[in-house]
């Protein structure tokens, strides 16, 4: 065996090294030194992120293990984007993992998180369904443990059980779809499937595709595979929820695009284009309709993230380099905006335990900076210029419209109407914080250093990612080199 092919996986290997270092530090260091676990992990991950930006990106597409694993500038780019998000999550989680209840198992949080990230890396780079499945499972199962992290809270357990059951169920459906695909094509390599299936579609294939799409739709919480989302987001500890809502979603969206394009690219216009339309319309609309009535901030963000997933899927509809670039840029901006919102929620929850929207009434009087960050996050999620969210929505709509059919125009029109609806509920939060005449329920407090750092980073990102154009340009350049779209007829 040629061991040099492991070198293609240098990002994964480096991540494993980080994981092992954290693990060894947590296991073997004297009790006194353990106080620095959070700092050590964050610094290690920061080093890894920087390393990965500078030296982790391959110049060209590289494959290993007989083509099961492929990495390329685009894959490295999406991994780097996720790294930035994970770094922010790690910093945000610091005060929570060091709280009274969690302190004994804080190492586990970091270890489980890094393992799931490893699984996501595999999902992104897999070009064979077996490897993909390994990635998918290692990204899902540890998450269930993370959701159950708040041992003293009943909701946390319930959420974990719900997550585990539905995840197992969706995996089962997904694998059934795979067995259909294997039966039709005789291979699990994406390329071979594409070649063997030809371009003739039949009912069997349609069902297989529906199964596969539903398995991925579960990870992305597309409607109607989304019902777990709200309960799990609400029950899980906030640092886990934020991780679930941005990183897990970003990785799944990219993998979704890779599978559809690489394995089923030739059925684009016949089969899955229509599936996507149905899913996107349902996801954006239902997500928005439910979000309007939510009073719990985490549940509210759960439904908002469902509808955001619908917008992310618009990048897949374009099915070209521009769509890919717009999708990756959307994920980047979404990471910053959503993490800003979760950062504020986490800071308030850690201090006061309050998560209801009515608790936020008059927040601007006692905590102006937190309210300011939250407002920027809401503006960005709603897509108000000049914040980054406006640009990401603009690019993703442009990429979809470029595809040019009447159906797309209708789809984009529906999406646009939905952005107006979403404006309503995002502004509800702003209204509660700034306009509500009630006496503030949350007193004045100073958030911890790590929380402030993470908020500064996310707020800067929200302001700069759109106005400074080099971010989109870099992503666009990487995407235009992409090897993914060779199969589109």
């Amino acid at each position: 065996m040629d061991y040099s092919q492991f070198l293609a996986m240098k990002q994964e290997i480096a991540l494993l090294v980080v994981f092992l270092l954290v693990f060894l530090y947590d296991t073997f260091m004297p009790r006194k030194a353990l106080g620095a676990t959070s700092a050590v992990t964050s610094v290690l991950f920061l080093l890894f992120t920087v390393w990965s930006f500078i030296w982790g990106v391959p110049a060209d597409s590289v494959e290993a293990f007989a083509g099961m694993y492929v990495t390329s500038p685009v894959c490295a780019m999406i991994k780097n984007i996720l790294n930035v998000g994970v770094l922010i999550v790690l910093i945000q989680a610091t005060s929570w993992v060091n709280s009274e209840f969690q302190i004994v198992r804080r190492g586990e949080y970091y270890e489980l998180l890094l393992v799931t990230l490893f699984g996501m890396y595999l999902m992104i780079s897999a070009r064979h369904f077996l490897l993909f499945l390994i990635g998918l499972e290692s990204a899902s199962l540890p998450l269930a443990a993370m959701v159950a992290f708040d041992k003293h809270r009943y909701e946390s357990h319930e959420a974990a059980v719900k997550y585990l059951m539905t995840a197992v169920f969706s995996s089962a459906i997904f694998m059934m779809g795979l067995s259909f695909v294997y039966g039709l094509s005789g291979s699990l390599y994406f390329e071979d499937i594409a070649m063997q299936l030809g371009s003739q579609s039949n009912t069997m294939l349609v069902m297989a595709l529906a199964f596969v799409v539903s398995g991925l739709g579960f990870k992305l919480s597309l409607v109607p595979f989304h019902l777990w989302t709200a309960d799990v987001y609400q029950g899980a500890p906030t640092p886990v929820t934020s991780y679930l809502s941005v990183i897990s979603k970003g990785a799944a969206a990219f993998a979704f695009l890779v599978i559809l394009v690489q394995a089923f690219g030739q059925f684009y216009s016949q089969v899955w284009e229509w599936m996507l339309y149905a899913l996107i319309i349902a996801t954006i609309t239902i997500g928005n309709l439910f979000a309007i009535r939510q009073r719990n901030m985490k549940r509210f963000l759960a439904f908002s993230s469902i509808s955001q997933a619908g917008y992310i899927m618009l990048g897949v509809v374009g099915c070209n380099e521009m769509g890919l670039a717009a999708m990756m840029y959307y994920i980047l901006v979404y990471i910053f905006s959503n993490l800003a919102a979760f950062g504020v929620i986490g800071a308030i929850e850690n201090k006061t335990g309050m998560v209801e929207m009515t608790d936020y009434n008059g927040l601007s009087k006692t905590n102006p900076w937190l309210s300011f960050s939250m407002t920027l996050a809401m503006f960005s999620l709603a897509g108000i210029p000049p914040f980054a969210g406006f640009f990401s929505k603009f690019f993703i709509f442009t990429s979809a419209i470029n595809q040019g059919s009447i159906a797309i125009y209708v789809l984009v029109l529906i999406a646009l109407i939905n952005t107006i609806i979403s404006l309503y509920y995002y502004l509800l939060v702003v209204k509660a914080m700034y306009i509500s005449p009630e006496e503030p329920r949350i007193g004045k407090f100073r958030s911890t250093c790590s929380e402030r750092v993470s908020l500064w980073v996310t707020v800067l990102g929200i302001i700069l990612l759109g106005i400074v154009s080099c971010f989109y340009n870099t992503i666009f350049n990487a995407a235009s080199l992409s090897e993914l779209f060779g199969f589109i007829a």
């Binding site: 595709l209 529906a210 229509w274 309709l289």
Partner: protein, 676 residues
């Protein structure tokens, strides 16, 4: 030239704005004032270095072998690259007019920064509320104005143009507890925004047909490049007209599209430069603090319109119709504003109308500029007058500020006889008046004379007209001067001390500006700023401008000015009955002038009676009952639906799985149906 200095010129005021805006309230007043002034001082020095390098270094970047000054892009970054073809750039364009404007803006801005240290506190040394905020806004304004003049493309210019509008809104409304200041700032903002609508449409039309935003493609070099392609002679207006006539320019409503675009762009300039009929905001804008009036309403923002026309001048040359419109609008405005200025009693309003009139002078000068007459003398004269006017008008405004600060009123009937109490203010104000009246050897004489020469070359009628305006200018300025500084002084009430000159922070800028007003006329502008960069003189010395005068024009205008001043002396030096007699002899004229020809009332009638009454009310009814009704209906339906489907989110996991399964099957079914 290395881009470092230009970047700092733009970045420093912006940094000052951020620092003072974010942390100013934690600073001591004095610190904030010194910090803002120092920042502007450094910017001024850097701008001088840049302008000096541009004009005198002789580097091949800025001047070619034949001595023609070039346009030089110091840097030009891609900012928003939407697609490969649609790119918005941010950059720094250095050419004669932007170098000139850098000097004007930073000089006046620095003077105003310095002056405000004294002006923005009362006699007991108590600082105005929001003093730090004031300095933050001043820095923001300076940044926007600098960004506007160095813009490399018309889109960047538009962005900064709007920023200038927004920051002037903040400055005019600085005393936001005063209702009149609030309504003045709103008025200024709305009127200029209305004008900017035309500007934006003009930009879009222009860039659609020319396919470019960049100024370097519009200006002489770019035009020459086009001319080489089309093999036409563009050194004369005749050749350019022929080129236009033969090129397939689309026609819209009787004018070529280019004409329409240029006229619409000029509309933006009319708004900012307060040309009739969009001038109504400027007199009201005097509600802002006086240093702001000196900065915004004398020297910088109001000349943005002149600058815009100058920037696109090679394009305007292609369309004689647009230039003629500019001439007519300018000439009418100049005369109108001068008439009104003769009757006002508020010292700042007199200065405001005088500003409108002087800006109109520059517009007329641009309107009559033709390349075949003395190498486009009118263009050079307009820029020259822009420069000298900025200096002496800022001086006059700052003097007015000193008077207001000493007396506590804008009304000059409350002043009288101040020449003994405030000698420095008196002398500097007199110098300002002599300069604006056009008395040799003060700055205004030279620049105004160049303008009149340029007008004379184009049309005798407008020459007589503009000379009359120049006479009126001398008359109303000296009327103001005598009423403030002569006459019998008022009795000072017991317990009050006599008005006196202000602290050095306020008098130093006056003295500096007065000195500049004395000598600026001798600057050989013809060799520095011309429309195509060609120098006008073979060699220059201190007396070049004197030698280049057309003495037949100069002696007439000098005579007119002296007669006007004598007339003002007779009527206003001492309290007498002559003014009242004149008022009674021409009651209607006086009334119309005093009420500014009822422009504001006309606007009120149009907006309230016609637009609100006949158009807005029916639309409002339709909006409230039909559109709101259907929107409310939609919102109601949305709420209902979200209420009805709430049951789906039951928390029951078996139910979730069922939905999941049904979803998969439905998905397959939908797709299968679509396939068939």
């Amino acid at each position: 030239m290395e881009p470092v200095i230009p970047i700092i010129i733009l970045a420093l005021p912006l940094t000052m704005f951020l620092v003072l805006g974010l942390f100013g309230h934690k600073m001591a007043h004095r610190t904030a004032g010194i910090l803002g002034t120092l920042g502007m001082g450094v910017t001024m020095v850097l701008a001088y270095i840049t302008a000096f390098t541009y004009f005198f270094s002789g580097s091949s970047e800025f001047i070619n072998e034949e001595g023609v000054r070039l346009q030089s892009l110091i840097f030009n970054w891609d900012w928003l690259a939407f697609t490969d073809s649609l790119v918005i750039r941010l950059g720094f364009l250095l050419d004669p007019i932007s170098a000139l404007m850098l000097v004007v803006i930073t000089t006046i801005s620095f003077m105003v920064h310095l002056y405000s240290n004294g002006y923005m506190r009362d006699h007991h040394g108590v600082w105005e509320t929001g003093f730090q905020r004031f300095y933050a806004f001043l820095s923001l304004f300076s940044f926007s104005m600098l960004g506007l003049v160095v813009a490399t493309n018309i889109f960047q210019m538009y962005i900064f143009w709007e920023l200038v509008g927004a920051s002037s809104y903040l400055l005019i409304g600085f005393y936001y507890t005063k209702p009149s200041a609030v309504s003045a700032s709103k008025k200024a903002f709305i009127v200029t925004r209305f004008a900017d609508l035309g500007f934006l449409i003009g930009i879009l039309v222009l860039s659609f047909y020319t396919g470019t935003f960049d100024f370097t493609n519009f200006t002489s070099v770019g035009v020459e490049g086009m001319a080489n392609v089309y093999q036409v002679d563009i050194t004369t207006a005749e050749g350019i007209r022929n080129w236009i006539a033969t090129s397939p320019a689309p026609v819209f409503m009787g004018g070529s599209v280019l004409t329409w675009a240029l006229v619409l762009i000029f509309m933006g300039g009319m708004g900012k430069s307060a040309m009739m009929p969009l001038h109504i905001w400027l007199p009201d804008a005097m509600e802002g603090p006086t240093p702001v009036s000196a900065l915004i309403h004398a020297a910088t923002m109001v000349v943005a319109g002149v600058f815009l026309v100058a920037r696109l001048f090679p394009l305007y040359l292609m369309e004689e119709a647009a230039l003629n419109i500019i001439t007519v609008v300018g000439a009418l405005t100049a005369f109108y504003a001068a008439m009104v200025a003769c009757t006002q009693v508020d010292i700042k309003r007199v200065l405001a109308f005088s500003t409108i009139s002087q800006i109109a002078f520059m517009m007329v000068s641009l309107g009559v500029a033709r390349p075949e007459f003395h190498h486009g003398l009118g263009y050079m004269a307009a820029m020259f007058h822009l420069f000298t006017h900025a200096m002496f008008k800022a001086l006059l405004f700052l003097c007015a500020g000193a008077l207001i600060h000493a007396i506590g009123s804008n009304d000059y009937t409350a002043m009288h006889g101040l020449r003994k109490h405030m000698p420095i203010t008196h002398i500097t104000f007199l110098i300002g008046c002599l300069a604006i009246a056009g008395i040799i050897p003060f700055a205004g004489f030279f620049s105004k004379d160049e303008i009149l020469t340029a007008v004379f070359g184009q049309s005798i009628f407008w020459y007589i007209w503009m000379s009359a305006v120049a006479g009126l200018t001398a008359f109303y300025m000296f009327r103001l001067y005598y009423l403030i500084f002569w006459w019998k002084e008022h009795k000072i009430p017991e317990g009050h001390h006599a008005p006196h000159d202000q602290p050095w922070t306020m008098t130093l800028p006056l003295v500096i500006l007065a000195v500049i007003s004395c000598v600026a006329g001798f600057v050989p502008f013809g060799n520095l700023v011309t429309w195509n960069g060609h120098p006008m003189f073979e060699s220059v010395n201190f007396f070049t401008n004197l030698g280049a005068l057309d003495w037949s024009v100069a002696s007439i205008s000098l005579a007119v000015a002296i007669v006007a001043i004598l007339l003002a002396t007779v009527m206003y030096k001492k309290e007498n009955t002559l003014p009242a007699k004149m008022k009674n002899a021409l009651p209607a004229l006086w009334d119309w002038c005093y009420h500014r020809f009822y422009w504001d009332e006309l606007y009120m009638f149009i907006t309230h009676k016609i637009i609100f009454g006949c158009i807005s009310k029916p639309i409002a009814w339709f909006d409230r009952h039909v559109i709101d009704g259907s929107m409310d209906g939609m919102a109601w339906v949305t709420q209902r639906i979200s209420f009805a489907i709430r049951g789906l989110q039951s928390g029951n996991i078996q139910f979730y799985v069922w939905v999941y399964l049904i979803g998969v099957i439905l998905l397959g079914a939908i797709t299968a149906v679509c396939l068939i």
